[in-house]
Symmetry: C3
Subunit: 329 residues, 3 copies
């Protein structure tokens, strides 16, 4: 069946938001709507010879990638997702822009909006910038592509999709987030989603990078990777965010790696079907060794494919509701 | 009515040019043709739910943004304008290009043309580069997106459209250009257009930045903003072009701002329907204060939308004539 | 006749490769297939008013320009070629990418592939990177856009097409490659193609930049341009690759230019129909003087147009076979 705007169906009624700012705000039902749609986009579009090229759900819509932090990977993923839906996607390189001439973020966004764009995908070093833009732009959907150490909702969703595709459900799953929890928006988005979906998140890393207060939210806190090897079903190995650290949280990369890297020896002590995740770009030999990264339990590249599917779902949902609101107002 | 190439109509007969190099060259009739078309593009395409996505007037045409100076804003605006007309728009980032290997501007342009492009949108720090390319490229339309301190015709046109949409006509209107007149191509394009269209331009700024010789062209020259507050219908508040100044033309930004910033107190002394324009990016607190920039008399974001409309009109007109000439020759 | 995917025809049976890594690997027949197709793309698409805009042979395919070395010119040419065929082309700027965060080239490529792209056009300073990617990516066509001093196959092909369009055949033609042979991937791709196609390559330049061992491959080696002026049918004037030289191979640019620049005086001593080629960007006054570069015997801009045609042929061939293999496996 060749999908068109007509026969693909509508955005589920349970989805009402015009922005995707974080997973903390979403209900389990809303997260599940996005995961179900992403699963469908993956199977029926990305993996369908008939439909994989394009599905014209957002034909002619204009999306701007407004990235104030460099990120070719996430930017390209959103770019592919938008284009697969038929939208025009324009990269707005903040480094070479009028921001260098002293313009505020909001002025930049309002200017882009005045040119007639329909959605802004925004990444910024300051937590809250996507929310700020969502509050101040009119008839323009905002998708958070990472705001400081706050949230990175599409990364959280793609991790959830990867887990669900492997285990079927989240009930009772133990998911370990390993590494630099303190500076990781990925960890935060994962934790919010896992708690809502009924899984048990475990945060694990050096005590300088893992706050004990996570326990108050129902997260298990642990400072030794070796202790939880046999317990967790999923290990999400976070990248050390050197660029966000203001003080050095451990003596050396070598020391970090000796204690927290997932290597073949550690993997052998894990459950047989333990799933290995890592938000790219991975540092081979730091948080993960090559034999694990490229091994059969690694879903790292599967995460990347799921990322495109999740972003298609998110863009389609928020843009559809945003346009409906604009017409109604 | 859904517009197509067939039912949209033809480029008006009064338009014969294959390039848009500056407003100094154009007659009042030619400027009016572009403004009328831009008005139509704004109403019938950009603001029409039925047509706003795309109008296929330039489907398959290839346009290159050849920007030797950084400008995300103008470049993005031309990019949207071209894509709305169905053209392919490719950014040619001069900084990372073969220019760094010692190639001349003309060789770069000829190479791009040999790849089969139909139009070049060019910005360069040297006045005259667009004219030089227009003289030396064959079957290729050239649009000036700003050449040094010379002209920025589409900015001039979008200012005119914004003024006309507010006041209906130009006859007898007094339009003050405030600030760094000496380094402003925006001021020059505005002055040429205003004089042709029957308005009275006033240039106002520190005597180091405002030449008295403008009076010979019929422009009123004034060194005090306070003196003309009650007189002008429009205030176009130019950005201080720090990057173009070779000597420091005033003691401090604070001093400049105290004398020439449009603030609430000054706005209260203006005519009730005085229109506030500013070519972005604005420096809040320097040439304009936030309460004015975001107030009801400000048309700053309206200018941005008009910019896309004006660029659609310009690209469609010059590309159409350029292709007709190529076929005839 | 308006061409579509159906009536344009199929990729010739003699073409079986899913990658284009270099001309050394190709047979004369394979090179001829690409030249014949490129000739057809040039005449029936690029120069046809009816078809020139687009021919939808790769509609919906996604191509990534993965350039680890700066090159606006080649990147833009591949971009135009892909878009003319209907593909989506995305530039992946390696400088601002996750590579800066320590990712390996292969991880970057695998990530891009996992997003669902169909072909990678790769340029890298290290010889062998395209081969390495071809060996390690699945169901993804790889085109070499220049790897260190190794090969630049589409440049070699466009030079061959330019020669063939002028002389009809290669038999007995003497083609001089002048300049920095040691650092030139263009020279290598030219030599491989010329030898296979039956022409006689001559390498000519300072002895510090021309190895005598080329003679073992059947290439004539010569250290004086003046000596071969009357002998060669084609002069391909290579750019001095200052950026690749680790020791200074000649005393000064002035000295190089005095001995090896093609100027009007030297051109007068060449055969009347001698053809002048130069891979851009040219350095006017170094390897070629303006009166020669812009003169009637220069085919420099013709080379650029042929470059788009050759890249259309290469992308169409390798992508078609790559997709067939993916379906079959």
């Amino acid at each position: 069946m060749l999908y068109t705007k007509e026969n693909w169906g509508s955005v589920p009624e349970g989805w009402t938001r015009t922005h995707l700012l974080g997973l903390e705000d979403l209900s389990a039902e809303e997260i599940t709507i996005l995961l179900d749609l992403a699963q469908r986009f993956r199977e029926d579009v990305l993996e369908s010879e008939e439909n994989r090229r394009k599905i014209p759900l957002l034909t002619g819509f204009a999306i701007v990638n407004l990235f104030f932090e460099n990120s070719t990977r996430t930017r390209t993923s959103f770019g592919f997702a938008g284009r697969r839906l038929g939208a025009d996607v324009i990269d707005f390189a903040a480094g070479t822009s009028s921001l260098a001439k002293g313009e505020t973020v909001l002025d930049t966004a309002k200017n882009i909006q005045a040119m007639g764009i329909d959605a802004v995908v925004v990444r910024h070093v300051c937590p809250g910038v996507p929310k700020f833009l969502a509050d101040n732009l009119k008839n323009c959907a905002v998708v958070n592509a990472g705001d400081g150490t706050h949230e990175h909702p599409t990364q959280g969703l793609l991790d959830m999709l990867t887990i669900r595709r492997r285990f079927g459900s989240f009930k009772g799953l133990k998911v370990a987030l390993v590494g630099d929890i303190a500076h990781s928006r990925v960890a935060r988005s994962n934790i919010f989603a896992l708690l809502k979906l009924g899984a048990q998140p475990i945060v694990c890393g050096p005590s300088t990078l893992v706050s004990p207060y996570w326990e108050e939210m129902g997260v298990k806190v642990c400072y030794s990777l070796d202790e939880i090897l046999g317990e967790a079903d999923v290990f999400n190995l976070l990248r050390i965010q050197f660029e966000r650290q203001v003080v050095r949280p451990f003596p050396s990369i070598h020391e970090y790696s000796r204690l927290y890297a997932m290597n073949a020896e550690r993997l052998a002590r894990c459950k047989k079907d333990a799933l290995i995740l890592a938000p790219g770009p991975i540092n081979r030999g730091v948080e993960i060794t090559p034999e694990v990264a490229d091994g059969p339990q690694s879903a790292i590249l599967d995460q990347v494919t799921n990322g495109v599917a999740v972003r298609m779902a998110a863009l389609w949902c928020v843009l559809t509701r945003s346009k409906e609101n604009a017409s109604a107002s």
